[in-house]
């Protein structure tokens, strides 16, 4: 079946549909990971986005029951060069096509994804519509132009759970950690559990008082979709909690922490979405290959560097990748130490968080 991806600047990509039929709008971004489409599909940070994979052959190993990063896929559409007709892996439970159909996600295949990537690289990430019902190019471009996009929109509320829950496994952990569900990936919780933390997940709207009521050893602000500046309530909550307990921010969490500390965020041209970004730890001088997925970034110059120390830098474009407060117990990174999909090089940061909680508990 025919499907069209229309970009707001008028560029059209026509291919065949797979997964569900329908019409969705979103910001088109490209992801350069060669593995991990299942994790990407289920990463709530892609809410509001249509994801194009630069690796052309997707779906080869199907979809399994274990590698989910959230309860369902939130993204608006999925674009590949070729969706495998067969799922070949001992853990595979269903094909990618079936999985997308089941979850009502639109898929587009058979387009020149490299041309799309080049277009976005040159022109920047942009709004688009993916449709199998309206095949009129002009109409689609118009729809794309009129779609809301990401800037200034709070997408966190669309992906957050509405009730608290406990991550299964550790009931009596060494540390109790509260995680605000801003669109978190399960692997963050799995990592905390691996470090013997008792994990309490709260809706993103939870107040500072509610968070403190659990007497947690630390707070983790996780990843999530969209523009951090639009998530004012979490920024306010964070501001109230700074200095009261150890805080670890990841991705959107890092951006919101940056805003809470008085910094500014800005939108990158086409963001970082992939599993091969070199990030230098300025203290050790070592480089970690990291998983990244963000379209916004904390402006290094906006941070008060008397209080805030820059800890990590992206070697590709020198953007801010990590910071810590010189006095207060908090640190954050723009990349994903929980990986999934991606390399495990930065997993040590969870250890750092444990150490910070330990140190803080003593004082």
């Amino acid at each position: 079946m025919k499907a069209i991806l229309a970009l707001e600047d008028g560029r059209i990509f026509q291919g065949s549909s797979f997964g569900a039929n329908g019409e969705r709008s979103g910001e088109v971004v490209f992801n350069t990971s060669m593995t991990g489409y299942q994790e990407i599909l289920t990463d709530p940070s892609y809410k509001g986005q249509i994801v194009a994979m630069t690796y052309p052959l997707i779906g080869n190993y199907g979809v399994n029951g274990e590698d989910m990063e959230s309860r369902k896929p939130f993204l608006e559409g999925f674009v590949v060069k070729e969706c495998s007709k067969i799922a070949s892996n001992w853990r595979s439970k269903q094909s990618l096509d079936d999985y997308l159909k089941e979850n009502k996600i639109l898929g587009l295949e058979g387009i020149d994804t490299r041309a799309l990537t080049l277009h976005i690289r040159k022109a920047g990430a942009m709004k688009a519509v993916l449709s199998t019902i309206d095949l009129d190019e002009k109409s689609l471009v118009k729809k794309a132009k009129n779609s809301p996009g990401l800037v200034g929109i709070d997408l966190v509320k669309k992906v957050s759970v509405d009730k608290k829950y406990l991550w299964p496994g550790i009931r009596q952990g060494a540390y109790k950690v509260v995680v605000l569900d801003c669109g978190l990936k399960y692997n963050i919780l799995r990592e905390l559990a691996k470090y013997k933390c008792q994990v309490i997940v709260l809706p993103a709207q939870a107040s500072a008082e509610e968070i403190l009521s659990f007497k947690p050893g630390g707070l983790l602000l996780p990843n999530g979709p969209g523009d951090p500046a639009a998530v004012k309530y979490v920024i306010q909550t964070t501001r109230k909690l700074i200095g009261k307990l150890p805080i670890f921010g990841i991705c959107l969490g890092h951006q919101m922490l940056g805003l809470a500390l008085g910094g500014k965020t800005y939108k990158l041209k086409f963001g970082h979405h992939g599993a091969n970004h070199p990030v230098k730890d300025l203290k050790s001088g070592k480089v970690a290959i990291t998983a990244q997925n963000h379209g916004f970034c904390v402006d290094i110059d906006s941070l008060n560097q008397k209080e805030i120390e820059i800890t990590h830098i992206n070697l590709n474009d020198q953007t801010l990748e990590g910071m810590r407060h010189k006095k207060l117990p908090l640190f954050s990174v723009q990349f994903h130490p929980e990986a999934s999909a991606g390399p495990h090089d930065a997993e040590y940061l969870f250890g750092n968080f444990i150490a910070l909680m330990k140190k803080y508990a003593k004082t």
Binding site: L57, W90, T117, A275, N276, V287, A341
Partner: protein, 1074 residues
């Protein structure tokens, strides 16, 4: 960290001759390393015995030693050059072994040479199976279960513990009984018993079999700050049990989830750290159980390898170049990525295409050997293809192999193949299995059945099925409509179908399909290989073709020349031609041209994106090349440097409008077409052995009888003497005709009078259309009848008289003038008595160009490229034949040890894979070095076995006398014994093997025999001595099969006995005029 300042001079060891398992990839890596280290201000000393390499060009290193790669020789070089450091990881296994030996003998310590890259401890840990096992267990990595046993009872216990199937490996088993697999206890008991017997210490290693598991490789790099990155992941199409060099492989990994891949990545990083490779690249292999997902580590190579060359070409990340920088202290984050310029080399390449590598086999050259694949590598080359899908890349790869397949097409009719045959070809891994998968699917076999027989992953089988489904759809559509819709045509192109394949389906021809496509705008698009999946701007012009929406390659307005490479290595066409293509590129750049390289061989220097201004990584077929010509519209296309491959395309390309420069297509045809060539010779009054040609069996026999036996029979238009044979009688001829006809593919079979006992001479010359200058006159050591590629040869000619040489010159000039040669010409002569005959003229670069260039110190291929671009030899300053005072010997290296059961006798069909060069002040010394370098080191004392045919008996007396005078102990069979004793030479008598005397075999096994001289007479003599020759190969005893070779050997032994072996660099032989 900045680069090290405490080291100034670095020694790099090359990998020696091209052999199976070690090919051009080490020239590629070594050349990169030399260049980069010199740019960093280090003095580089290089040693490599292979003259056909770019790395041994005098401008690549500061000091270049074309000397044998032995510990003694390298010690002499170290003593002379006193390097501070040795970089051992770029010259393959040869360099690693040599380094370990240098360390073991205390030589590195004595001269205070530090190993950089990988230290001795790490090399040993990576290479020694038990040290490796211990190391992996220490870091908690799973390995195939294994244990040792010293008797049957223990073996039984181990077998029960591990479970079947099992592999039994005898330890220290000389004589080559390798590993065997047992599927049941009954089989096991027998195999274990045999294993224990064949082990010198009665020890066997019993190992869990992982045959049939999924096989993966990771290319890893590490720096001194312990940053580790994965450059490329590779999945083998063929499962465990087939050497990865013989497997079709795919990059990146296709069938692992991120969780599984990251687990493998973690394991690889832990592995390189534990083994202790401080800097540089390593290749780590894993096996994964297809049902349970259990992952075991198989092995690691603590050095750059064939896979790392492939990974470099597959990703655009130059592993060897970066490895050299890391070895001198830089860290990954300090080195910029060449391709993006702005981002650092400390990252993991993201690719947005699929890469397929397919091995090239030459079983047709060894008819006695079965084409069954296993754990020992048998392929001689490889091709790599890039496509946007696996289907496209696979089909491009298959046509890039140049085995007359133009994709996944059919040579056989599937309904004529028996089920038995299909099952057997699927089950037993072999060179044509990929096509049998197709036949099986066509015959209606289910994917499941094929998977169970082949153990190939379902994903690959599914993709092949999709290719066949599309082919069937196209056939149906054509049968229905008598034409294909444009949509279908486009779909076929997107799935990698060649115009020829489509022509076959639609009963038309390639040109018709091509024009149809072009008329309807179904044309190729070119994309970049950029390491980053288009995330950053790429500056390096490295391209591949596909059928997509957008072509992103911009053509410049510069004057440009395109050079067509040689494709995958094969016997007869290898690194020598790549050398010439690279030189052309360098030379034309000097003249200000933009150079465009087209090649499909990932091992080579020519496919380094640094070599030419633009690189198109594409199959060398008319269609693929013409697509690039349409795009680039080059001012000239060079076809005479890449061997027979581009030459065969010349006529078609010219007809399609390409501008072929250099010798004209008409002249090429005049030299290659037998009848036209005979006319050329007749016109010039040049002798040719009596000859004729014929197509049918009856005619062939008639012609042969007319000429008179013995005759040399061969097909037209082939390289490397494929299906070429000397035939002494009608009966043998009748038996051989079919093979010759097949290789001829419809062209006539050529029949020449064979000149027995003639001396063969090769001449390489260059002409600009005005004057012709001879590069070298090479006298073969073996007599005419041995393929020139297998024969040793010497510059200057050492036995020919001045009058003969003058005749050779005269003929050379006349032929070059008549054929209006512009560029290189190679002529083969046979000298019988006072007569000079021309056997063959090749109006192209020959295999010997690099050797001659290094012998005389003149870069002939470079000059040729400049001549083709319009320069005259006078302008280039090369107007007179160069006279040299030293002697250079080229010796061939043969792959017999890889093909069990094959006799080692040399004949008109070329069998060697590579060559070495010995260079010294006299013939004897140079010959001695050449033998040493070819792993056929001549002895200075010990026992020598001699058995020669009657006609050689007179000559052997003189040779044996000299050997006896040098205190060798001689052993001979009856006839030879008589000849020697009647001349008062002390010799011991032994019987023939078929008479029951196996003493000679015993002496070989005991390693007492140091040299064998055996010239066989006729078919019977050949089979009598075959066991001796075969065993000699297994045990590495040099075996000389011609009387001329024996003469040269004695010469060599004598001259070294008189004075020590000395080393001298190429720069000293050819000092630059300042």
């Amino acid at each position: 960290m900045p680069k090290r300042k405490d080291i100034k001079k670095i020694l790099i060891i090359g990998s020696g001759p091209i052999v199976i398992g070690q090919a051009c990839e080490f020239d590629y890596s070594g050349t990169q390393a030399c260049k980069v280290l010199r740019q960093e201000g280090y003095k580089v000393v290089l040693v490599n015995s292979n003259p056909a390499t770019i790395m041994t060009d005098p401008e690549i290193a500061d000091k270049t030693y074309i000397e044998p790669l032995t510990t003694e020789v390298v010690e002499k070089i170290i003593a002379k050059e006193r390097p501070d450091a040795l970089l051992p990881t770029l010259g393959g296994q040869t360099a690693l072994n040599l380094t370990v030996d240098l360390a073991k003998k205390g030589i590195l310590k004595k001269y205070k040479v530090e190993t950089i890259g990988a230290n001795i401890k790490a090399i040993k840990k990576g290479e020694d199976r038990s040290l490796f096992k211990e190391a992996m267990q220490r870091i908690g990595l799973d390995l195939p279960k294994s244990d040792k046993a010293y008797n049957l009872k223990e073996a039984d216990k181990v077998a029960k513990k591990i479970g079947f199937p099992l592999i039994i490996r005898p330890s220290f088993n000389l004589g080559g009984t390798g590993a065997s697999t047992a599927y049941s206890i009954k089989e096991f008991k027998e195999l274990a018993r045999r294993g224990l017997e064949s082990s010198m210490i009665s020890e066997i290693l019993i190992e869990e079999s992982v045959t049939g598991w999924k096989e993966f490789e990771l290319e890893v790099m590490r720096d001194l700050k312990d940053n580790v990155v994965i450059i490329c992941s590779i999945e083998n199409f063929d499962p465990m049990g087939i050497h990865t060099g013989d497997s079709i492989t795919v990059a990146p990994i296709q069938t692992l989830t991120d969780k599984e891949y990251q687990k493998m990545r973690d394991a690889a990083i832990a592995c390189i750290r534990e083994i202790g490779v401080e800097t540089g690249g390593s290749n780590i292999q894993f096996a994964v159980h297809p049902k349970t997902g259990r992952m075991v580590v198989i092995e690691m190579n603590p050095r750059v390898s064939r896979s790392s060359a492939l990974a470099s070409k597959a990703t655009g990340f130059p592993i060897a170049k970066i490895a050299a920088k890391l070895a001198v202290g830089y860290t990954l984050d300090e080195i910029p990525n060449d391709i993006t310029q702005k981002t650092p080399a400390c990252f993991e390449p993201a690719i947005d295409y699929c890469v397929v590598k397919i091995p090239r086999f030459t079983f047709e050259k060894f008819p006695e050997a079965k084409d069954i694949l296993g754990v020992s590598m048998k392929s001689v080359g490889e091709t790599m293809a890039i496509g946007r899908t696996f289907k496209e890349a696979l089909q491009k790869g298959l046509r890039g192999l140049e085995i007359s397949h133009y994709g996944l097409d059919s040579k056989l009719k599937y309904n004529e193949i028996s089920d038995k045959k299909i099952r057997q070809r699927l089950k037993e891994p072999n060179a044509s299995r990929i096509f049998y998968i197709k036949y099986a699917l066509q015959k209606g076999y289910s994917a499941k059945e094929i998977i169970s027989l082949t153990k190939i992953d379902p994903w690959f089988i599914e993709n092949i099925r999709e290719i066949i489904n599309l082919e069937n759809d196209l056939k149906r559509e054509f049968n229905r409509n008598k034409k294909l819709s444009l949509e279908s045509l486009r779909k076929a192109k997107e799935s990698g179908f060649s115009d020829r394949q489509i022509a076959e389906i639609t009963h038309s021809d390639e040109i018709y399909i091509r024009n149809l496509r072009k008329k309807n705008n179904i044309t190729v698009t070119f994309k970049l290989v950029d390491t980053c999946a288009a995330e950053f701007i790429a500056y390096t012009p490295y391209y591949y073709s596909t059928y997509e929406e957008e072509d992103e390659v911009e053509v410049t307005k510069k004057k440009k020349i395109m050079i067509l490479g040689g494709g995958p290595n094969r016997i007869g066409q290898g690194i020598e031609f790549d050398y010439c293509c690279c030189h052309a590129s360098f030379a034309l750049k000097e003249l200000g041209y933009e150079t465009i390289m087209v090649n499909s061989n990932p091992e080579t220097v020519s496919t380094d994106y640094d070599t030419s201004d633009r690189l198109y990584f594409e199959p060398l077929t008319f269609e693929d090349v013409m697509n690039i010509i349409d795009k680039e519209k080059p001012d000239g296309v060079i076809v005479q440097l890449g061997g027979q491959t581009p030459l065969n395309l010349a006529r078609q390309l010219e007809k399609a409008g390409a501008r072929i420069i250099g010798t004209s297509v008409n002249s090429i045809d005049r030299a290659e077409d037998r009848d036209r060539f005979a006319k050329v010779l007749k016109k010039l009054g040049i002798n040719q052995p009596e000859n004729g040609s014929a197509i049918s069996k009856q005619e062939i026999i008639e012609v042969a009888k007319q000429i008179g036996f013995p005759v040399l029979v061969r097909p037209s238009y082939v390289l490397g003497g494929r299906a070429m044979k000397i035939v002494y009688d009608e009966e043998t001829l009748a038996g051989f005709i079919q093979e010759a006809q097949e290789a001829s593919a419809g062209h006539p079979v050529l029949i020449d009078k064979f000149l027995e006992d003639a001396v063969e001479v090769d001449v390489d010359a260059i002409s600009d259309g005005k004057i012709t200058v001879i590069g070298g006159i090479m006298e073969h050591i073996e007599e005419a009848g041995v393929h020139s590629g297998d024969s040793a040869c010497v510059i200057p000619a050492h036995t020919l008289g001045d009058d003969i040489i003058e005749l050779i010159r005269k003929d050379t000039y006349a032929l070059a003038r008549e054929l209006r040669v512009k560029g290189l010409i190679n002529i083969q002569f046979a000298i019988k008595g006072e007569q000079v005959y021309v056997l063959e003229v090749n109006p192209r670069a020959s295999r010997t160009i690099p050797f001659v260039s290094k012998a005389i110190g003149v870069p002939l291929a470079k000059l040729a490229a400049k001549v083709m671009a319009g320069k005259t030899l006078k302008e280039l300053g090369f107007t007179a034949e160069k006279k040299v005072k030293h002697t250079s010997v080229k010796e061939s290296v043969l792959p017999f040890s890889r093909f069990s059961g094959v006799d080692i006798l040399l004949g008109p069909e070329m069998k060697s894979t590579g060559e070495v060069m010995g260079i010294d002040s006299s013939f004897g010394r140079a010959f001695y070095k050449s033998q040493l370098a070819a792993n056929q080191g001549l002895p200075l004392k010990g026992k020598i076995f001699i058995s020669v045919k009657n006609s050689d008996k007179r000559d052997i007396v003189f040779i044996a006398k000299k050997l006896a005078d040098m205190n060798f102990k001689l052993i001979a069979t009856k006839g030879t014994y008589k000849a020697l004793t009647s001349n008062n030479i002390r010799v011991q008598l032994v019987g023939k093997i078929n008479e029951g005397d196996t003493r000679v075999l015993g002496l070989i096994k005991k390693r007492e025999l140091k040299l064998i001289i055996n010239t066989p007479s006729g078919p019977r003599g050949q089979s009598d001595m075959k066991p001796i020759r075969s065993l000699a190969v297994t045990y590495g005893v040099p075996c000389i099969t011609t009387i001329q070779g024996a003469q040269a050997a004695v010469n060599g032994i004598e001259s070294i006995a008189k004075g020590n072996l000395k080393v001298k660099s190429i720069q000293e032989y050819h000092p630059k005029k300042s």
